[in-house]
């Protein structure tokens, strides 16, 4: 299979699914327009400069409208897109990769559930920003520990 095609298929599925979910909703025309634009842009990206992350980001506007119908459906589409992205990039081959992805999706699913009950962003944002900073520190700390332990200490 040509590189980038799985991601384009996932983009098509999510865009079409999102538009179909909005049938009967006033936002349906916008959803269809967003899906068409995303697919067109995705084809251009695939044709000129193949980039799976770009295809992943292109799908986000389509999913944005689906949140109004069902946050869990949005999460489902996101999960499909992320799985396709990881598969397409060769990062879903080992059991460890699958385990990491599983944990990530479970955490994101819980977050979708929590956010679905919120009508304003103030409190979630007050938690999200420090959590993101903490996550950055954890990642940098892990990277530093790996660098130091790898070579028996820096000299």
């Amino acid at each position: 299979m040509r590189a980038g095609v799985p991601m384009l298929v996932a983009l098509f599925a999510c865009a079409a699914g999102s538009a179909a979910a909005l049938v009967g909703n006033p936002a349906f025309p916008i959803a269809v327009s967003a899906a068409v634009i995303s697919l067109g842009a995705g084809l251009l990206v695939l044709w000129f400069c193949h980039s799976d992350p770009a295809l992943f980001l292109l799908a986000q506007p389509c999913l944005f409208l689906t949140w109004e119908i069902s946050p869990l459906l949005t999460f489902f589409f996101e999960a499909v897109l992320v799985s396709a992205l990881l598969f397409s990039m060769g990062l879903l081959r080992t059991k460890t990769d699958v385990a990491y992805s599983g944990v990530y999706l479970v955490v994101m699913g819980c977050m979708a559930l929590l956010l679905s009950g919120q009508s304003h962003v103030f409190f979630p944002l007050a938690i999200f920003v420090p959590a993101a900073g903490l996550a950055c520190l954890v990642v940098l700390g892990l990277a530093y520990r790996t660098m130091v332990r790898a070579g028996g200490g820096t000299q």
């Binding site: 081959r93 956010l115 962003v121 979630p124 990642v139 892990l142």
Partner: protein, 431 residues
């Protein structure tokens, strides 16, 4: 840890949606921002875990030939790196040559290797520009995936071997004369034979057949042997004066002196009496090797003391004999009637009996007073205090030994050369 272009795209998307969520109070935008940011964090943790796995499986074997070279020499290096790259990662290994040893041919970095077991061979050459015992700085392992890259520095001892010994380069200027140290042919027979032929005589049983002059023998129909001239001045004492480690001194000055000493020592150990070497730093005797025939020992003595400290300094030290001469001159002079001169004479008269020679004076006398020392060759950087050089020159003059001195071009100012000549060195030249 560095982010790739894709990761930067994700970061900007996360920040953009976060701002969108904040300004428009949009919960779905916040979800997308958190989803993208969470994806990056999850990928970063997975990447670091894999990088650690790759780092734990690396082994490096490095072979350098030759391991002992002169400054400026090229060392050929062969580094074998065995590495297991986990799925989804690519790795690149860079060997880090010693400081002051740039790569002159070949590549010290491997091409990018994908997932799997790899045996990477790096072949390159480095030019050793700095002297001393030099070691590799280690190995850098660059691991990357589609989102992140990380450089893992391996600086442990097992990644820095082998040690290359680089001797400083210097050229000892030969003196006028036949041999390395200005030996002269004597018109008399001595145990040491020179290169010149003094005379011919009839062959006598027991003569060395190698001394038979076959051309002359064929001409006259009987055997003639050559009588070689005697050789003088073949047993010098080489003194190497290393700079004070506590005083800043350019490394190239020290290397010039040590290089010249090594050059001279290599020539001297092949001589009939070996190499007599005295390594000093100021008035501190570091090493003394009389009649040494082992080049290894001589080189070790020269290279062992890289930055010696000078516990004994002999600024303004007055030699007892020189002080007595000053006192005699002062007492005989008409100016002794002045109060200052009279006071000085009293000081000399009281203190001269108590002046004891420094250990260095005694060491110089013993080293130069050995039987057969016919010349003194001093190599110095010409920096800092010169009192010990004056002591050496004085002792050589007392023992009627010809003294010469060599110093680097950078410090050989006309004033210093004139001053050193005044200390008793008949020849002062640049090494």
């Amino acid at each position: 840890m560095e982010a790739t272009r894709s990761t930067w795209g994700f970061i900007f998307a996360a920040i953009g949606t976060l701002l969108f969520a904040w300004f428009l109070d949009s919960v779905p935008a916040l979800f997308f921002s958190a989803f993208i940011a969470g994806f990056l964090v999850f990928r970063a943790i997975a990447f670091i875990g894999r990088a650690g796995t790759a780092a734990s499986m690396i082994t490096v074997e490095r072979v350098a030939k030759p391991e002992w070279t002169r400054q400026g020499g090229v060392v050929t290096v062969s580094t074998s790196v065995r590495i297991t790259v986990p799925e989804g990662l690519s790795a690149r290994v860079c060997d880090l040559p010693p400081p002051g040893a740039p790569v002159v041919h070949g590549l010290a970095c491997s091409p990018e290797a994908g997932a799997g077991d790899h045996a990477l061979n790096l072949r390159y050459g480095v030019s050793c520009l700095s002297s001393g015992n030099i070691r590799w700085r280690g190995v850098d392992l660059m691991v990357s995936d589609r989102f992140f890259s990380l450089v893992l520095p391996f600086r442990g001892d097992n990644f820095r071997s082998p040690v290359i010994r680089v001797d400083p380069v210097g050229k000892y200027q030969k003196r006028e004369g036949l041999g390395f140290f200005g030996e002269r042919d004597l018109e008399k027979l001595t145990v040491l034979k020179g290169t010149g032929v003094r005379s011919f005589r009839d062959y006598m049983p027991g003569d060395d057949p190698r001394s038979v002059d076959w051309k002359l023998s064929a001409k006259h129909g009987k055997l003639f042997v050559r009588e070689y001239a005697g050789l003088s001045g073949t047993h010098p004492l080489l003194v190497v004066d290393l700079p004070d480690g506590a005083v800043p001194c350019p490394y190239d000055l020290r290397d010039t002196v040590v290089g010249a000493a090594l050059d001279a020592a290599r020539e001297m150990v092949n001589g009939p009496h070996g190499c007599s070497l005295m390594v000093i730093s100021g008035a501190n005797l570091l090493s003394f090797l009389p009649d040494e025939r082992s080049l290894h020992k001589v080189e070790r003595s020269l290279l062992e003391y890289h930055s010696p400290q000078r516990p004994v300094q002999c600024f303004r030290t007055l030699d007892p004999i020189a002080a007595e001469a000053l006192r005699t001159r002062l007492s005989g002079s008409s100016a002794v009637h002045g109060s200052l001169e009279r006071r000085l004479l009293q000081v000399y008269s009281r203190f001269i009996p108590e002046i004891r020679p420094l250990p260095f004076d005694i060491q110089c006398t013993k080293a130069l007073g050995r039987r057969g020392e016919t010349a003194l060759h001093v190599l110095t950087t010409g920096t800092g205090d010169m009192s010990h050089l004056a002591t050496l020159g004085l002792q050589a003059r007392r023992l009627n030994i010809e003294a010469s001195l060599g110093l680097p071009d950078a410090t050989a100012t006309p004033g210093l050369v004139r001053r050193l000549r005044g200390m008793g060195y008949s020849i002062v030249r640049v090494v």
